[in-house]
Amino acid sequence: MYKIESKNVNLFYGDHHALKDISLQMKANTVTALIGPSGCGKSTYLRLLNRMNDLIDNVRIEGEVLIDNKDIYARGIKIDELRKKVGMVFQKPNPFPKTIYENVAYGLRVNGVSNKNYIEERVTRSLQNAALWEEVKDKLKKSAFELSGGQQQRLCIARALAIEPSILLMDEPASALDPLSTAKIEELIYELKDKYTIVIVTHNMQQAARVSDRTAFFYLGELIEFNDTKEIFTNPNNQRTQNYITGRFG
């Protein structure tokens, strides 16, 4: 059984056919990297999985997207419930202009949790899981804006973890960070794999090779190749994949 499965998904922005007949399966507790040149549809595919594309006007979606074997585009699906289960981390660190504590607690509060002790416990646990606790435990009441970019991104990860999702979507989570912070995020992804199913969009080939179990190569809205990461990077089946990962275009 797959954790995430898309069957013949087509997505249109108005007249633009952005995703063409995409079928993909991801197992629980694996890391799947989505790679490909800009505009290839990888971020669009990522946002399909927590219905973030719904926020854009004129989007039309065909096909099925199953999470835990349930079609997330079926009638009667509650989007807030879905997004509780499918956390997201964005390209640029985007903590709220609130304290570090309130940033992490936000997801709990908007989902109706009011038990103070429970919130405190979740905040602590999430910051620990995001490998940020040691750096911020003495300044939880300070503004999140006082943190460095790398710390802010780990705070955003903690914020996503606080509502206990089972899937974590990451849209180029390290592209705005320096190499040291990037290494920390990658290490974190590796650790989080135990508990979460992770889908990561990245422009960085080495990163995809380092952190992921499976890699999907997108090109012009099509899924060109999907295989074990090792296979993709050592022995790609498709010439276009070969060209892309060796840097001949992209």
Binding site: D80, E81, P97, K98, T99, Y106, R109, N111, R159
Partner: protein, 284 residues
Amino acid sequence: MNKRIKQQIAFWVLRIMSSLVVLFLVLILGFIITKGIGVISWKFLTTMPENGMTEGGIYPAIVGTFCLVGGSMLFAFPIGVMSGIFIHEYAPNGFFKRFVQLMTNNLAGVPSIVFGLFGMSLFVNKLHFGDSILAGSLTLGLLVLPVVIRVTEEALKSVSDSFRLASYGLGANKLQTIWRVVLPIATPNIITGLILSIGRVSGETAPILFTVAAYYLPKLPTSIYDQVMALPYHLYVLSTSGTDIKASRDMAYGTALVLVMIVLLANLLANALRKYLGKKVKMN
């Protein structure tokens, strides 16, 4: 001409132009202060006008202006802010939204005397509020409504979408996102707009002319159906149609000074509040 000289010339032209702006502002302020400071006293601020408005104070006009500012804000602020939120956050892009925005902009361009006439015919006559604080406040409120709406829209527009996305991504709905994330960030700018519109309201004469302003009424209002004196109208009366224009000339400058000070204070307060709230929002 080489490009360094060109740059020097452009720089000096810009510098002179901006200095001119400051110069005129300082001139006006200096003029009013030197002419008006002589009559300013505690008595001037806290007593009724006497002797055909050539002596005594302007207390009722100050109170009246505060009543009108408060009343109009009570009316314009909630409606304006909520409209702004609706237009920017809820209304789908399309004909209706563009229509509302067009209308708001047009409303902002309507001369204030027209608001005065409208207020008189609707609030004073049709709704039988009479010449009253209520009618005057509603008229002034209508006048600044487009300003408040625009300010709210601009404030919301300046809130980065990345905050909205982060909030939705955590399972928040639209109302929660607006209430807990967007509005706290936009509040400093909205407040600034509010206070700037206070400056506008306190200085307007035409809208209150037919709806509330009293020529001479040396007592304080007891209900919202009372007439009041107001600073801008009092200034107008003293300088054009008072009982003795020459004798009340100093009183007029004093009134002008008080009015300018109120507006100036409102603006300073707006700045201070924006800075304070801007800091505070990062801490919450």
